[in-house]
Symmetry: C2
Subunit: 444 residues, 2 copies
């Protein structure tokens, strides 16, 4: 019995294993959150399932207030779900196999290489251990720095846990906060703003990028993927910050209500970087102008880095598609950037990711408009947020019908496992031809 | 002076000539509509410009009521603008060159071949003359059949003109109607429904498809492009009709208000086929459920056939992208359909069309949300309708701000000239490397 289950598990293709492990984690989380000690007041099965999926897929959409509904035990359950879902269940699965069997099968090495977008020939085990080490260090540092704010404010016990919880949620781009208005209280606090945004940007840019930076130190020595991610992240964040600052400057419900330029700049920065795909907020997302909300929907669709805790189609996919389009217009055979060409197969994969993601998101929006009444913009925003595992909401999550909650749950799962991975599984290909949304760039 | 203008015109690349000719037609139309005899009451420059661009780009969005504002002379101006804009200004330009110089330069033959999506080696002149002949026959037949309804109703003079006007607007997918509620009065009229929808489907499927059908008669002898367009049109129309019927069945403002199944079926059919991109309506578009409106936005984005009077990214582009994605998922080198492979270059071009169209439409929606207050769905619907040269509206056109009207004008022009054509012009490529949105399929 145990042997046959083990055999069945080892026989799964990587995308099947990935999809099943997120489903499994969500179901275990649901059971744990239903335990009497997990919540102050009873939560329904639907509320528990929604919360567990949201935490496992590191989204952060909530139907009940995280801080007041769940106990300390409940919060620890969420922390474990977020950490497992963020760093990648597959990593853990492979570590377990690694530890129990002493060595990594070649096909698992290949899968792991793709999970971490590591297209070079380096040692996969090193990258994997490295990712875990980096996570531990960042989460330790994040907790310490945030404690400087929250221990004086709340005392040692609550302050430290508060710091740890938000550090972990930030690094894993999970968006869960213990206050009902997320981090709005700290909208103009430089420490909270800088530590939290540094955590989710470093967690969301991709481990291979961080490893490349630490290994090679100089920009010109970096891999193409690393260069594009660094420049792309800088450009998109600064453009987004400027756009949001300009659009919201006259909004009496957001920037115009803030007393000074420091607060206006910090909130513009935070609202610009959180959609890709941290999910915290320091302004009322529902009070943003429709233009800003639509712009943020674009950022949520793009998302973060491949092989990271972030979601979306990934910034690298977006850049490849823009470069491929530009190259086509210029009559060039293939896009060339930073002196390197981008392989045709990467372009075909990017096209597939864009098409499948658009179909998923459009279908999600369409189904939600059928099941939910209310404002179309709010509904569309919710669907894009779920599919990008972002967690921002214009305030309709708690009011969703059961059908609407199920749609959001499915979108979160698809968003975290990756629409392309799901599509591969549905197209019945063999394990060896599977390629993840990660591994966008041809290096060398 | 005349010689140098002629030299300058002959030196333009085809996309430059196309863009300039639509601009020119619109400006001439504006001046004509400002003539005192064109309207019963004075129209502003902005109203004249908007109407002229809408007619020239065969869109059909209106800021003033076509039937009551303009005189018979004004209606004739609109007819000429629609016919020029629909059949393709380029065709007329090339005919003029052909007639004045006795022969067609090779590069103009190539341009014409692409305009009509005629990738084979057949005689271009034949296709061109053929398109004009087909147009004349269809418009004659359409007028005769519609006259059966409208001459008894309105008398010979008004009835004949009414029939001619709507025939021409339908075949050119121009969407202008003489009643303020479009064809809502005839929502359950089998004659009007069938003649009008047959006209805009045959005008919008692409002349090369019609020519292929008449030349080769049997399905298995048709070119790949023809097969895909025929099957694709049938499938998308039937699916859309079913979806709209199901969604709107319970809507008291649309289908539920209709007395019998005949009316429900005709209106479902009409609302399913008009978004790609005829622009007439027989139900109040603003009263459709948000889910239906969002679904119709998808249809408007897809649009009709290449080298036709329709707009959008074109059904063939949509099919190619779906096939390429499916082939990628199946691990196939390139998509194969009806026993023929689709060339890589076609896939790259489809990717470029999708990306540029999405960027145009998104930018349009974004800018409109900045300039216009009001419902986000209505604003987004308006932008997609303009960019797809569809002409359906949820009722906000007349209330648009001046900035909003300018955005819609620019979207209509981009939509008719083709986002890819504009992008080519902006990317400063030479004439010989230009490929139009037409010419999607590799035949043979
Ligand atoms: K998130
Ligand atoms: K139209």
């Amino acid at each position: 019995m145990f042997q046959s289950i083990k055999k069945w598990i080892l026989g799964l293709t990587p995308p099947q294993a990935l999809a099943l492990s997120y489903l499994g984690l969500s179901l275990i989380g649901t059971l744990l959150l239903k335990l009497p000690g997990a919540s102050h007041q009873p939560v329904s099965w639907m509320q528990a399932l929604f919360t567990a999926v949201s935490a496992s897929t590191v989204t952060g959409l909530v139907v009940v207030d995280t801080g007041t509904y769940f106990t300390l035990f409940g919060h620890w359950i969420l922390l474990i779900l977020m950490q497992c879902g963020g760093l990648g269940l597959m990593t853990f699965g492979i570590i377990v196999i690694h530890l129990t069997r002493g060595q990594l099968a070649l096909k698992h090495r290949a899968a792991l290489r793709e999970t971490f977008n590591h297209t070079g020939q380096g040692d996969v085990r090193r990258i994997m251990l490295w990712a875990i080490g980096f996570t531990a260090i960042m989460e330790l540092l994040g907790t310490v720095f945030l404690a400087l704010q929250w221990v004086p404010e709340m005392g040692w016990g609550k302050g430290l846990f508060y710091s740890f919880f938000h550090t972990l949620a930030a690094f894993n781009n999970a968006g869960f906060a213990l206050a009902a208005d997320s981090l709005t209280t700290y909208a103009d606090n430089p420490l909270v703003n800088s530590v939290i945004s540094l955590l989710f940007i470093s967690g969301g840019i991709g481990f291979v990028v961080i490893a490349d930076i630490i290994d090679n130190k100089r920009f010109r020595h970096f891999a193409l993927h690393t260069k594009l991610m660094l420049v792309g992240t800088l450009v998109i964040n600064l453009v987004a910050m400027t756009v949001i600052l300009v659009l919201e400057y006259g909004n009496p419900a957001t920037l115009a209500a803030l007393p000074d330029w420091g607060a206006k700049l910090w909130t513009s920065w935070f609202q610009a970087v959180t959609p890709r795909s941290a999910g915290f907020n320091t302004l009322d997302t529902g009070a943003l102008f429709p233009s800003t909300a639509f712009f943020i929907m674009g950022l949520m669709f793009i998302g973060g880095g491949s092989g990271s805790t972030a979601g979306g189609i990934k910034l690298s996919t977006f850049i490849v598609v823009l470069l491929a389009t530009w190259a086509f217009l210029r009559g060039q055979e293939r896009p060339v950037v930073f002196g390197r060409g981008i392989q045709l197969d990467i372009i075909r994969k990017s096209l597939a990711i864009i098409v499948i993601s658009l179909l998923c998101v459009s279908t999600g929006i369409f189904l939600l408009t059928v099941t939910e009444g209310g404002n179309f913009l709010d509904v569309a925003f919710e669907a894009v947020s779920a599919a990008g595992t972002v967690g921002l909401s214009r305030g309709i999550t708690a009011d969703l019908s059961v059908a609407g909650q199920i749609i959001i749950i499915v979108l979160m799962l698809i968003g975290r496992v990756g629409p392309l991975t799901i599509a591969f599984t549905l197209a019945h290909t063999r394990g060896e031809s599977i390629q993840y949304p990660a591994g966008q760039m041809n290096i060398g």
